[in-house]
Amino acid sequence: MEEKSQKITGETNSETYKRRGFLKKIIGILTAFGTLVLGIPFIGSIVTTGKERKNKKLIRIANLDQLPLNQPQKINFSDLVTDAFIEGFETRNVWVIKHSPSSVTVFSPICPHLGCSYDWQPQENSFVCPCHSSVFNLDGKVTEGPSPRSLDSLPQKIVDNILFIEWERFEVGATEKKAI
């Protein structure tokens, strides 16, 4: 710098000092203001998503006439799933037990213990989970192993002999069945 610094004319040293103190306060307050008005929406956009309510819909599973009595059947179905902005079909399955021509039980295929897929063992007449050997009877009750609760039944509806269900997931590891 070739020119020498000079005080602003008409201002004493202490006035200049005070004015600069005020300017520093302005800078601090406006920085805080900017951070606040940007911070709330930007943080808000990533912490409050995922709360969308999925509208429940009935999914066609099977014609009851084609199911055997008292024999658990694993039935695959495909479900249109919306995951944020991507829509696609996902293949899922449920266990269906027909008790009579008009009464069935539908179990979620997810073990309530830690979320593995269990299987039906006809020779033991039980559902057995391969991960931690939880065993459930035909009614879904725990007979052995660590599972904290019975198998989760799913909402169902029978119209003209056609079985419809609503797909739901439940928290695993809890004693109470609680939808996620």
């Binding site: 710098m1 020119e3 020498k4 610094s5 000079q6 602003i8 004319t9 005070k18 600069r20 005020f22 300017l23 520093k24 306060k25 302005i26 800078i27 307050i29 406006l30 920085t31 203001f33 900017g34 008005v37 940007l38 929406p41 930007f42 808000g44 956009s45 990533i46 409050t48 998503t49 969308e52 819909k57 066609r60 249109l80 944020a84 902005f85 991507i86 829509e87």
Partner: protein, 647 residues
């Protein structure tokens, strides 16, 4: 010693903290701090906002051609404050260009590029070019109509470089066509490579600037008075920054960036229009045709850049007062004025997307035509033939153009047979049979059609749409079976991809005029007769029947989407017209259907692009922010007056 200064000392022993801070904030500004000097820091502020909002968008955006558009739409409508984050990025991009331009002009007038500040200027010019590159690469990322065609035109411009042009174009595209690889390239350029280079040159620009500081006013006396950068200039910078932030908030809430609909490469109804910041190049291009084209596409922009780069080397005198360097100043005015002139000129010449003349179903017949031809003409209109068939460009586009029946080798018997039994010549025809027409009327219609070529008909009104569907019967082969598909069991299985795209109502209106207006009436008003149907008329779309309407955007779209995709047959004994399966038959692309759906929603006062999850309502965010700012300002002013009085 306070705790903070202890910490500062601890760091300073291990890192040059004090000297770094001193380097950043310790500068005497000749001629005092000024709001003029805030332009550079304002640009830096907006650039930081671009980085922040850009990174934030990556929480949601995916750079794939099948999901880019939906991911941006999702961010903008379904993510809380997504509208604001996208809005800040969109309007911030425009602000960047304006601020960089103003900053450059300011520096030019003050002569701040002169020795020893040449490098500051050169880095600055490079930053301007990099900003333009960011603008060009960013526009493609939403994979919408605007971006797709901007990239198409931009890369075609690159291909005009003699010799290596095609190679450069293919390199930019990652192939010979715009596609996934193009999107990936533009994406990585926009979010990683160019920002990195930008950032590097910002550092060079700032460090070179700090070396010699601001050049100050051209009057020596004024220059002698100085104020420190911290806090005097910083306070002014931050006030400007906050004002810009408030403006960006207001723009994001009140002037939302348009949705132009998902990219549709085959759509001829879309007229590409350059972004405003490239309009001057677009206009300059027009002056050079044929072999001279590379002059406009390559040489002209290169000369502009060369001129800017050479400024500090042409103008070497120490004098900075603009009045005393008239030649440079006039050159600068011509340069900036020329760009502004070309931009305004270009703006006026751009084909507006919304003003394509409507298809008018008016076929006028000459006064002196024979009576039977006149009767045939009237029957052609009254029997709704004109809804599907066009004569000399006027009329519907669903069936073949009937302007040249004689030239096609049709005879009156063939035409009459076709009218009575369309399926005889083409089993897939969707044309309803008009078997009940009396022979004399059939003869009149065929006489009329065979005479079109001979000049008895002419077009009324202006019409520039060409017949794209000369063989529409094949296109709509599925129309019959699809008409019955529509049922209420599982609506999800029957909606098409179009239902999930947000279209542009103005573009939809153009397509509506070409494809739908013939049956559903001007602006969806209906009133077009449909003999044999229960109501006797084709349903109006504005207002639409209650069973389709919903205030919930997705429900409304899904309701009409199934009909547009698969068609429908109206109730009634023998409806002569039915809704064609535009989606199943491929008559319209899914992107086009999305545009039309947005238009139909718009006719019924439902915004297809409605923000479903705003976080806080956009207008409310703006008013809360502005009120808070005003309250803070008042409190600070009161505090200053109070502390003044005390002394």
């Amino acid at each position: 010693m306070t705790r903070t200064s202890k910490l500062r000392n601890w760091i300073d022993e291990r890192f040059p903290l004090k000297s770094t801070i001193k380097f950043i904030i310790d500068e005497d500004i000749p001629g005092q701090s000024s709001y003029f000097y805030a332009l550079g820091s304002a640009t830096l502020f907006v650039f930081s906002l671009q980085i922040l909002s850009g990174v934030w968008q990556l929480f949601y955006y995916v750079p794939t051609t099948d999901h880019a558009y939906s991911s941006v739409s999702y961010l903008r409508t379904s993510v809380p404050f997504g509208w604001l984050i996208h809005g800040i990025h969109y309007w911030g991009a425009q602000a960047m260009i304006v601020l960089v331009g103003l900053h450059l002009i300011r520096v030019f007038i003050w002569g701040a590029y002169k020795h020893p500040r040449e490098l500051v200027w050169l880095a600055g010019v490079l930053l301007l070019i990099l900003t333009a590159v960011m603008s060009f690469t960013g526009v493609l990322l939403p994979w919408d109509e605007v971006g797709y065609f901007a990239a198409k035109v931009g890369t075609n411009i690159a291909s005009t470089i003699p010799g290596i042009g095609t190679w450069i174009k293919n390199f930019m595209l990652g192939g010979t066509e715009i596609g996934q690889l193009t999107l990936s390239r533009f994406f990585i350029l926009h979010i990683a490579i160019v920002p990195f280079i930008l950032f590097t040159f910002i550092i060079i620009h700032l460090m070179a600037f700090r070396q010699f500081g601001s050049i100050g006013p051209w009057k020596k006396a004024k220059r002698a008075i100085t104020t420190p950068f911290w806090p005097d200039q910083v306070a002014k910078d931050i006030i400007i920054a906050i004002l810009i932030l408030l403006i960006l908030f207001a723009f994001s809430a009140y002037i939302r960036a348009p949705f132009s609909g998902p990219a549709d490469p085959l759509d001829t109804s879309y007229h590409p229009k350059p972004e405003w910041n490239f309009l001057f190049l677009y206009q300059a291009l027009k002056a050079f045709k044929g072999n001279w084209e590379p002059v406009g596409t390559i040489l002209f922009p290169m000369l502009l850049v060369l001129f800017m780069l050479s400024v500090p080397f042409m103008d070497k005198y120490k004098e900075t007062n603009p009045i005393k360097r008239p030649v440079v100043l006039i050159l600068g005015i011509v340069f900036v004025g020329g760009i502004i002139f070309l931009t305004i000129e270009g703006k006026g010449k751009v084909p507006e997307t919304g003003t394509v003349s409507p298809v008018q179903n008016k076929i006028v017949i000459t006064e002196n035509a024979p009576a039977n031809i006149k009767q045939g003409h009237d029957l052609f209109i009254s029997n709704n033939c004109v809804i599907c068939h066009s004569i000399n460009g006027s009329g519907g586009k669903i069936g073949p153009d009937l302007s040249h029946e004689t030239a096609r080798g049709m005879s009156s018997s063939k035409i009459e047979e076709q009218i009575k039994n369309p399926k005889k010549s083409n089993p897939n025809s969707v044309m309803p049979p008009f078997a009940s027409l009396p022979t004399d009327q059939l003869e009149a219609i065929s006489a009329y059609l065979l005479n079109v070529d001979k000049g008895s008909s002419r077009i009324a009104g202006n019409n520039n749409s060409s017949s794209q569907f000369s063989d529409a019967q094949n296109n709509t082969a599925n129309g019959n079976s699809a008409g019955n598909k529509q049922s209420n069991i599982n609506i999800h299985s029957t909606i098409g991809p179009a239902a999930s795209y947000i279209g542009d109502p103005r573009h939809g209106e153009i397509l509506y005029r070409q494809q739908c207006e013939g049956c559903h009436g001007v602006n969806g008003a209906g009133k077009v007769p449909n003999p044999g149907s229960a109501s006797g008329f084709i349903p109006a779309l504005s207002p639409i029947q209650g069973k389709y309407f919903s205030q919930t955007v997705n429900v409304f779209v899904n309701n009409i989407d199934t009909i547009i995709q698969h068609g429908s047959v109206p109730a009634g004994s023998a409806p002569s017209l039915k809704m064609l399966a535009f989606g199943d038959a491929g008559t319209l692309s899914q992107q086009q259907i999305a545009q039309i759906e947005s238009y139909i929603l718009d006719l019924n006062s439902v915004d297809r692009a409605k923000i479903l999850n705003p976080g806080i309502k956009p207008e409310l965010v703006v008013w809360i922010t502005i009120s808070l700012f005003i309250i803070l300002s008042i409190v600070m002013l009161l505090y200053r007056n109070y502390s003044r009085k005390r002394t």
